[in-house]
Amino acid sequence: MKNSLPKLIGKRCLAAATSLVFVVVTVFAVTNILPGDATDALLGQNATPQTVAALRHGMGLDQPIFFRFWSWLWAAVHGEFGHSLLNGLSVADAIGPRLHNSLLLAGAAALIAVPASLFLGITSAIWKDTFYDRIVSIMTLGVVSVPEFVIATIAVYVFSVRLHLLPAIVDVGSVHSLGQFLYAFFMPVTTLALVSLAQMVRMTRAAMADTLSASYIEMALLKGIGPVRLILVHALPNALGPIVNAVALSLSSLLGGVVVIEVVFTYPGIAGLMVDAVSSRDVPMVQACALVFCVTYLILTTFADIVTILSLPRGRKA
């Protein structure tokens, strides 16, 4: 067979590796494209040609660009991202605990968003053009159409300012029990879930509606198959590929959402760290955060694509 399953998965992994190279090169290139370099920022007004030359030599900036790229990459692979330009602290040390916090937030949100969006998407495709479907469509279109911070600020306004139910700021240090966890994380997690859910619902609905309009579904219906069996046995397996793909693509909006949610709720995560680093133009920190984000995203999308290939009989031939 020309396109066997392992071969396809191998191809996908190869594509992921290409993307990874592209991402790494882009991150390095963008941050090295300017004529000035870190020495200007570090020395400021004290810069004399001698000190600049000495510091450039000390930081290895007088080396050829390929050599610098290689040593930067080598260090990054070993978890060594250099030091923050702002306070001289190790970037890796700053990122470590915050990455854990961010993964906790994103993971909890995904845990809510994925099942909820699958349920909403599939049911609204089944009950297409009913009142329920229309409500879901309008709500999700509304959420997709407004920036993430709008949803977050509305949530803060309603639950913290008006109802005094939940804290507007997440205090991770005070979380010791499940109750405290729910209290502190409820709002950021549900907001993030809502933001990333909308896109998933829309794409799941489209995939399911597409499958349900196929002629073999009509055939099955005419044979007299019950609705549950029709959906679960005939429609769902064929819609699974596009649905998994939809979930993977929505992870991008989850990542975008994480950035905004962390800032709104002053959550101590890696995205908030990155925004601060961008404001102060702390390039090593930005590089490291961007790499961590992009690699996470790449792993997730590749994983989802492999699931798509495995789940879809058609995909094996494509």
Binding site: V30, S145, V150, T153, G256, V260, R281, V286, F293, L298
Partner: protein, 268 residues
């Protein structure tokens, strides 16, 4: 009104009409405001609507309506410029990729695919960290981010058109590449491409608003809708229009165009 909308049968026409409306508002709006958007009035901060200040005042006691009109101008014009940039280059490259198979186009395709591996907000953060938040940098950043999307759409759309006889005919006549792209293929994908441009415009409005809200988009003393929400966040406690109205304007702008493009998507 129904007469006008009846004539504008396709969703693209209506989306274009909406875009033109927002552009006009962006260009003419600030001329109609009765206050300098930066001027501090004698009113207390976060005051409610009054006859002097129709939407009240903001966190420094400035007229909200004047600032809103100025904010709309920045948001709409910045996003329009970046959309123009991304869609013109992206569309051209997309058609070119189908029309000729030289290595430049193959490379462009690879780069465009690569860009999809980087979430847009992240890429914007990365670029802004290096180039700063000048107007040109913001336009270029958003332009580059959405270029790959426009490229993919136009490549997909022109795939079938490029196979048609009149393109083969034009090639046989020995026409230039540019002629085939602009005169033969572009008019045939213009309709669906307009819908794509509308979407990219929405995306860039969302991105710019998010960036400004995070404090790394449009910088004071300039103001756009996102930074207006940011600077008036304290007003949320008083239910101040200075914080709520820009949120509503963003929603009306984006939902409006999205609904126009989406509602007919199923029927067409």
């Amino acid at each position: 009104m129904i007469g006008i909308f009846g004539k504008l049968r396709s969703k693209h026409d209506r989306a274009v009409l909406l875009l033109v409306f927002w552009l006009l508002l962006a260009l003419i709006g600030p001329l109609c405001s009765s206050y300098n958007p930066g001027a501090i009035s004698s009113q207390p901060v976060f005051s409610g609507p009054s006859t002097a200040h129709l939407l009240g005042t903001d966190y420094l006691g400035r007229d909200t309506l004047s600032r809103l009109l100025d904010g709309i101008r920045h948001t709409v014009l910045l996003c329009f410029a970046s959309t123009l940039l991304s869609c013109s280059i992206g569309t051209f490259m997309g058609i070119a990729a189908v029309t000729s198979k030289s290595w430049v186009e193959v490379l462009a395709g690879r780069v465009a695919d690569g860009f999809l591996a980087i979430p847009s907000l992240l890429f914007a953060l990365l670029v802004i960290a290096v180039f700063g938040t000048s107007t040109v940098a913001l336009i270029m950043t958003m332009g580059v981010i959405y270029m790959s999307g426009a490229y993919r759409t136009s490549r997909a759309l022109s795939q079938s058109v490029a196979q048609r006889d009149f393109v083969t005919m034009a090639r046989a006549r020995g026409e230039q590449m540019t002629y085939i792209i602009v005169q033969e293929i572009l008019p045939n994908i213009a309709g669906p491409m307009m819908a794509d441009i509308g979407l990219r415009f929405i995306y860039s409005v969302l991105l710019l608003s998010n960036l400004s809200f995070l404090g790394i988009g449009v910088q004071p003393p300039s103001v756009d809708l996102g930074s207006m929400v940011r600077e008036n966040m304290l007003g949320v406690v008083y239910g101040s229009p200075a914080m709520i109205v820009p949120v509503i304007v963003i929603a009306v702008l984006t939902v409006g165009i999205n609904v126009t493009l989406d509602s007919h998507g199923r029927k067409d």
